[in-house]
C-alpha cells in the first residue's frame, strides 16, 4: 500500500500492532525457549505484518492473524538454525501452545505488567539486583556469582524462587482487582 502513516487505517493498524507487542513477543518466545533470536523474529514478524497491512480486515481478530504469521516466522527461523544446540518442542506441543496463547488477551498482559511493577518493589534490594543482573546487565550471572562469592547454581535456584514469588504475586494482585483476572 502507499505508505501514509497518518491515514486512519494505518494509525489503527499501528495501535493494534503496538497493543499486541507484549503477547506477540511472549508467543514467539514460548515457541523458541531460551533462543537468543526472539527479538529478531519479533522484528521480522512486525515487518511482515506491516507489509501485509492490506490483507488485514479491520474488525477481525488481529491477534489470531498476527500469531499465525509469527508462528510461520518462528518455524522458518528454527529451520534455518537447525544445528542449534537449543532444545525445541515437538510440532504437537507447538500446536497446543498456539491454541493456548491465542486465548491470552493483550489487556490482561498490560494488567500483569502493572502488577509486576508493584510486585517487584516487594522484593529485597539484593533480590531486585539479581533480577536486574539476569535480565539486563552486561555482566553474566557467572561473573556476578564470582564477584559476590556465591556458587552460580545457587543463584539460579534463588532466581527460580523469585520468579515463582513474582508469578504468584501477579496472580494474587489480578484476583484482588477482579474483572480482568
Amino acid at each position: 500500500m502507499a505508505f501514509d502513516p497518518r491515514s486512519e487505517p494505518a494509525r489503527e493498524f499501528v495501535r493494534l500492532l503496538t497493543n499486541h507487542q507484549g503477547v506477540l513477543q511472549s508467543f514467539i518466545a514460548s515457541m523458541m525457549p531460551g533462543h537468543p533470536d526472539t527479538a529478531d523474529v519479533l522484528q521480522e514478524t512486525n515487518l511482515t505484518l506491516w507489509e501485509k497491512i492490506d490483507d488485514f480486515e479491520p474488525g477481525t481478530n488481529f491477534q489470531a492473524w498476527a500469531f499465525a504469521i509469527a508462528r510461520f516466522k518462528v518455524l522458518d527461523h528454527l529451520r534455518k538454525c537447525r544445528n542449534s544446540k537449543l532444545m525445541l518442542f515437538s510440532d504437537e506441543i507447538l500446536e497446543r501452545l498456539s491454541v493456548a496463547a491465542a486465548q491470552r488477551h493483550p489487556l490482561l498482559y498490560d494488567a500483569k505488567v502493572r502488577a509486576l511493577n508493584n510486585c517487584m518493589t516487594t522484593l529485597r534490594p539484593k533480590d531486585q539486583e539479581l533480577v536486574q543482573i539476569r535480565y539486563h546487565s552486561p555482566e553474566s550471572l557467572e561473573q556476578y556469582a564470582q564477584r559476590i562469592g556465591r556458587p552460580v547454581a545457587s543463584l539460579y535456584v534463588t532466581l527460580t524462587r523469585l520468579r515463582a514469588i513474582l508469578r504468584r504475586c501477579i496472580q494474587s494482585r489480578l484476583q484482588e482487582e477482579g474483572g480482568l483476572a
Binding site: 531460551g34 532444545m87 515437538s90 497446543r96 501452545l97 505488567v113 508493584n118
Partner: protein, 506 residues
C-alpha cells in the same frame, strides 16, 4: 512431574540450564497437562515482562535526544517498534523505508527535539541516500506526534515546529507543511525560502513569519517582521505581499482574509520540555499562569471565593513556596483556557494535600470539557473514596463521562502527594485510552470502569473552561491544597515525572 518440578524445569529451560536428559519429561508434561502448558506460558510471559521492565527502566534515563530511530539492518526495509515504557505500552515508532547504504553527504537540514517528543521519520521518498541521525534529506517526511522540533537549514533558516505536525522536505529551500504550527526565521542570504501548505504558498522576502496548517480549517500566515509573499493555491488564487504585523487566512474559494496577528502564538525557541502551562501560586501574582504553550499569556485565572475574604488568605504553605487552599464549599479557580480537545495526548501533574476521610474533599482537582454523563466529552481528575474494611482511602480517578479509571494509593492522608495523570492519544484494543497514574513518582495499578464491555468513544470537547477545585453537580467541592500544577500537551515519561517532582520544574 509435580507442578513445582515442572515450574523449576521451565525456568531452567528458559535460562538455558535444563540438562538435555530432562527435556523429554518436560515435553511430556506440556503435551499431556493443560495446567503445565498454562504455567509454561505464564513463565515465558514473566520472562518477557522482566526483560522489558529492566530494559525500559534503562532506556528511560535522561538523554540528549530521546527520539532516535534504530536501524537494525542497513540492507533492507526495516520496521522498528520500540517499547519505551513497556508497562503501559507507550511506544515510539520509527519507520524507515527503502534503506540502502551509500556514502554520507553534507546534510541540508539538521533537527533537534524537545524532551519527550515523539516522531516518525519516513525516508521512503528520498534519493538512495541514508540521512545521518538527526538530519533530513530531500523527500524526508516527519510526523511529529507530540513535542517540538527545531530545524536548522544549512542556509541559515531556522524553524520551530509544534506537534501535531506532518511535514516533508521538498528541497533545501522549500518545506511542505501538511499540518502543524511552525515559526520561521530566514536570514538575508536565504531570501526566497518557501513554505507550502495544502492551501498556501508562502515565499519569504527577508523575514520572520509563522504558519498554521490545519486539516479542519483554513491555513494561516502571520508576519512577525519583514515581508512575505502569500499565494492561495485554490479557486481565485489570490496573492498578496504581507508586511510585519499582518496575518491572513486562506479560504476555500481562494481568497486571503485578514485575521488578527498572534505574536505570542508561536514558539520561537526549542523548549526544554513539552509545551505546558504552570500555576505555581507563588510570586507577586500567585494565580498568574506561566509556561510554553502558545498564547499562554492570554490566559486569565480567577479565584472564586466562598466568602468575602481576600484571595491572599487562601494561600498557605505549599510544597514549594505557597499553595492554594480550597474549602470544599464552592471555592475554585476558573480560567479562560479551553483545555485540550479530542484525543490530544496530555499530562496533568501537581502536588495535593487532603485530610483523611473528608467527604467534602472528593470534588474535582482539575477539569474541563462538556459535562455530559451520556458521553465521554470531559476530562476530570478528582479524588474519590474507596471503602476498605476499617477505613476509607481517597484514590485518584480520571473521569470522562461514561467511563472512568481509578488508581489505588491513598492520597487523602494529610500529607503532600505528587500526582501525575498521563494520557496517550492511542487506545487499547477495547478503546480505552492508554493512561498511566503516578503517585509520588510511583506508577499506580489502574482499574478501568466499566471494564466488561468496550469503552464508549472518548473525545474531550470544548465546553467549560479549565478549572481547579470546581464543585461537582452534587455540590461536592474539593477541600485541600494544590501546588505547582502543570498541564502538558503530550505524555510525560516516568523520568520526566520524577524530575518534575524533585525540581518542581520540567
Amino acid at each position: 512431574m509435580k507442578p513445582s518440578e515442572i515450574e523449576i524445569a521451565i525456568h531452567r529451560l528458559l535460562d538455558g540450564t535444563l540438562p538435555p536428559e530432562a527435556h523429554p519429561a518436560l515435553q511430556t508434561a506440556l503435551q499431556n497437562d493443560p495446567a503445565a502448558l498454562e504455567t509454561y506460558l505464564d513463565c515465558v510471559e514473566l520472562d518477557m515482562m522482566l526483560s522489558a521492565r529492566v530494559h525500559s527502566a534503562a532506556e528511560e534515563a535522561p538523554s540528549q535526544n530521546p527520539v532516535e530511530v534504530t536501524i537494525r539492518n542497513q540492507q533492507r526495509l526495516a520496521l522498528h517498534v520500540s517499547l519505551l515504557a513497556a508497562a503501559a505500552l507507550f511506544v515510539l515508532i520509527g519507520v524507515i523505508l527503502r534503506l540502502t547504504s551509500v556514502p554520507e553527504k553534507p546534510s541540508i537540514l539538521t533537527f533537534r527535539t524537545s524532551p519527550d517528543s515523539v516522531l516518525t521519520l519516513d525516508h521512503s521518498s528520498t534519493s538512495p541516500e541514508v540521512p545521518a541521525p538527526g538530519t533530513l534529506a530531500v523527500g524526508s517526511r516527519v510526523i511529529l506526534q507530540q513535542g517540538c522540533l527545531e530545524f536548522s537549514f544549512a542556509s541559515g533558516v531556522r524553524s520551530i515546529i509544534k506537534a501535531p505536525a506532518n511535514l516533508t522536505l521538498h528541497s533545501e529551500s522549500r518545506l511542505h507543511l501538511a499540518e502543524g504550527q511552525a515559526w520561521f526565521h530566514v536570514p538575508k542570504n536565504a531570501v526566497g525560502f518557501q513554505v507550502a501548505t495544502r492551501e498556501l504558498l508562502v515565499t519569504d522576502l527577508g523575514t520572520e513569519f509563522a504558519i498554521v496548517s490545519n486539516e479542519d480549517a483554513g491555513d494561516e500566515v502571520h508576519v512577525l517582521s519583514g515581508r512575505v509573499h502569500a499565494f492561495n493555491r485554490n479557486g481565485l488564487k489570490q496573492e498578496e505581499t504581507l508586511s510585519s504585523g499582518q496575518a491572513r487566512i486562506a479560504d476555500p474559494a481562494g481568497r486571503m482574509k485578514t485575521i488578527p496577528i498572534r505574536p505570542s502564538g508561536f514558539l520561537t525557541f526549542l523548549p526544554d520540555s513539552l509545551p505546558h502551562l504552570h500555576w505555581s501560586f507563588d510570586g507577586e501574582n500567585p494565580l498568574q499562569v506561566e509556561g510554553t504553550l502558545p498564547d499562554f499569556s492570554a490566559i486569565t485565572t480567577q479565584a472564586i471565593q466562598s466568602d468575602q475574604r481576600p484571595e491572599s488568605e487562601r494561600l498557605v504553605v505549599g510544597k514549594r513556596g505557597k499553595a492554594l487552599a480550597f474549602d470544599g464549599h464552592g471555592e475554585r479557580v476558573q480560567t479562560n483556557w479551553q483545555g485540550f480537545e479530542g484525543r490530544t495526548p496530555r499530562t496533568l501533574a501537581c502536588w495535593i494535600k487532603m485530610s483523611p476521610n473528608d467527604p467534602q474533599g472528593w470534588g474535582s482537582i482539575a477539569e474541563w470539557g462538556v459535562g455530559q454523563e451520556r458521553e465521554n466529552s470531559y476530562w476530570r481528575v478528582r479524588v474519590v473514596p474507596r471503602e476498605d474494611r476499617s477505613s476509607t482511602r481517597g484514590i485518584l480517578r480520571l473521569g470522562y463521562g461514561m467511563n472512568w479509571i481509578d488508581g489505588e494509593t491513598n492520597v487523602a492522608d494529610g500529607d503532600w502527594h505528587h500526582i501525575a495523570i498521563v494520557e496517550s492519544e492511542a487506545s487499547d484494543s477495547l478503546g480505552f485510552p492508554l493512561v498511566r497514574f503516578f503517585v509520588d513518582g510511583k506508577e499506580e495499578d489502574l482499574t478501568y470502569f466499566p471494564r466488561t464491555k468496550a469503552a464508549a468513544p472518548i473525545e474531550t470537547r470544548f465546553g467549560e473552561h479549565f478549572s481547579m477545585g470546581r464543585p461537582l453537580p452534587e455540590d461536592i467541592g474539593f477541600r485541600g491544597s494544590i501546588d505547582e500544577l502543570f498541564i502538558f500537551e503530550g505524555t510525560l515519561s516516568p523520568a520526566s515525572i520524577h524530575r518534575l517532582m524533585s525540581n518542581h520544574e520540567p
